[in-house]
């Protein structure tokens, strides 16, 4: 018996080796690169150079604001869409849901470039309005990631509780804030985590939509990569990792929906 368990368990060995070699070790290397110079000596210079530069602080602030704005706008649009789809206000909700995911089958860069060209045509030139164009591009890209977890949460809603609330005399607004909103909190939290961090670390959307006139944390990592400045790139990556860790810590006790990328198909 013990011999059988032995064989099955060891099937994970190639997987474990691959993950250690190409996921765990690279992360430690980033950490090492972030705090060393080109000769390999320990230094805080990369950190000081990064934070001593006014434009870096600006980048972090802009990333944060665009991240928050994108999360809020996506939720404001996505929440009602998911609610209407889940509560039989629409015919064939599953098909409607598929329709919302379908654009994701077009290549991400192609889709982003298409929206840029369309905006250009109707007079919103990314070169003149980099922030507006980037925001539109962000919302366009992340909306499905918000609708999906919210829809999943809402299909599981106990509708009788909502009816009970209104039967017991709650006004529609009260029903919403006291019953529906708390019950859909897991969906809201996972939607927000699916949008906020990826927005801050993205660089393709801001590059393409904003005609390379705007810099997010992702853009600054990419810039250092282009110049071959691995040590500087690593320190920005470590800052990004810290932000992700803080985000995970802040939401660790909150119930969440499963990662929705698995349900995209």
């Amino acid at each position: 018996m013990s011999k059988i368990k032995f064989t099955r368990k060891w099937l994970a060995l190639p997987y474990a080796l691959f993950m250690i070699l190409f996921v765990v070790i690279p992360l430690f290397l980033i950490l090492a690169y972030a705090f060393t110079d080109a000769e390999g000596n320990f230094t805080f210079n990369n950190l000081l150079t990064f934070f001593g530069n006014g434009s870096s602080i600006n980048t972090i602030l802009v990333s944060f604001i665009i991240g928050v704005a994108n999360t809020v706008i996506c939720l404001l649009i996505g929440y009602p869409v998911a609610y209407f789809l889940a509560h039989r206000d629409m015919k064939m909700p599953a098909v409607m849901m598929l329709l919302f995911i379908m654009p994701m089958w077009i290549n991400f860069v192609l889709r982003t470039a298409a929206s840029r060209d369309l905006l250009f045509w109707i007079g919103i030139n990314g070169g003149e309005y980099p922030y507006l164009a980037t925001m539109i591009g962000m919302v366009y890209n992340y909306l499905p990631f918000v609708i999906l977890p919210l829809y999943t949460t809402m299909t599981k809603l106990d509708y009788s509780q909502i009816e009970a609330a209104s039967d017991l005399g709650a006004r529609p607004r009260q029903t919403f804030t006291k019953v529906i909103l708390p019950m859909t909190a897991p969906g809201i939290v996972s939607a927000a985590t699916m949008v906020f961090m990826p927005t801050m670390s993205s660089f393709v959307i801001s590059d393409v939509m904003g005609e390379r006139k705007l810099s997010l944390i992702g853009n600054s990592i990419q810039l250092y990569f282009d110049q071959g400045l691995w040590h500087m790139g690593s320190i920005v990556a470590v800052v990004m990792l810290l932000l992700i860790a803080i985000g995970m810590f802040a939401t660790k006790n909150v119930q969440k929906e499963d990662d929705v990328r698995g349900t995209m198909l």
């Binding site: 099955r8 889709r111 060209d117 990792l241 198909l265």
Partner: protein, 263 residues
């Protein structure tokens, strides 16, 4: 009142859908005219389609994209299936460790994953080539294969495997004939998910490729720096969209039939 909300709901949802499709539909409409940019109509023409297939660079790019997607999905599916089964039968502590490691690429920002791989290859003096790109895409997709197989392993009845052994099956035989068929739907959706994630990827591709090797993402990204999308890409968008639509309909009809048959 109730009816008014319902009408509002429909208008809202449909407006959002139209907005989601607008950029793609506009490209598709203007794929039937040979103008330099969208918004200019030079008369109806199918001309861009033959041009698309004669554009050797673009055809190579599309083939490269498909090659990377299929190769990385194949590697990820094999590694991930073995990994998922192995993790499922590991002892508690090992299981927790491996599951934790599987979460890293899912939680991490893609650009940090990409840079960490670049630093690894630079540190060991490895030239960027097709293999480094392949490794990048496997890192991207592998955790999702494990994640899609995991639920199937948990739903499985462990007694069937034991019964097979009691009846004299060798473990490797029982693995192939008992476990694999039961988790096949998970393996299949893991493979499909890998293909779609790989096809869509820009960041990891840009960081781990040999710069002479282009995929659709890097090609389009390069093109956007020069101005509006080249006209042939409009025709390509239409081709991809129709292909995806057909695939989606086929998959849904099949799963619908399966559900009917199961009833």
């Amino acid at each position: 009142m109730k009816k008014a909300t319902r009408i509002f709901a429909r208008i809202f949802v449909w407006t959002m859908l139209v907005l989601m499709y607008a950029p793609i539909l506009v490209l598709m409409v203007f794929s039937f005219t040979e103008a330099d940019t969208i918004g200019v109509w030079n008369g109806f023409s199918f001309g861009l389609y033959p041009q698309l297939f004669q554009d050797e660079e673009l055809v190579t790019v599309v083939l490269n994209t498909i090659l990377v997607a299929l190769a990385s999905a194949a590697v990820s599916t094999v590694l991930g299936t073995m990994g998922a089964i192995g993790i499922h039968y590991s002892r508690r502590r090992m299981k927790a460790a491996l599951e934790g490691v599987s979460q890293i690429p899912v939680m991490n920002a893609e650009i940090v994953t990409a840079l960490s791989l670049t630093v690894l290859f630079v540190y060991f003096g490895i030239q960027f080539n097709f293999i480094t790109l392949l490794i990048g895409h496997v890192v991207l997709t592998l955790p999702f294969v494990v994640l899609s197989i995991n639920p199937k392993l948990q739903q499985m009845d462990p007694n069937i495997y034991e019964a097979a052994l009691d009846l004299g099956a060798r473990p490797s035989h029982a693995l192939r004939r008992i476990i694999l068929p039961q988790i096949m739907p998970g393996i299949f959706s893991g493979f499909l998910l890998s293909v779609t994630l790989s096809l869509d990827d820009y960041i990891i591709t840009a960081f781990t490729r040999d710069t002479s090797f282009s995929t659709l993402s890097t090609y389009v990204y390069g093109a956007t720096a020069k101005g509006a999308l080249p006209p042939t890409l409009r025709a390509l968008t239409t081709v991809i969209f129709v292909f995806a639509l057909v695939l989606l309909i086929v998959i849904n009809i099949r799963s619908h039939r399966k559900k009917e048959a199961a009833r």
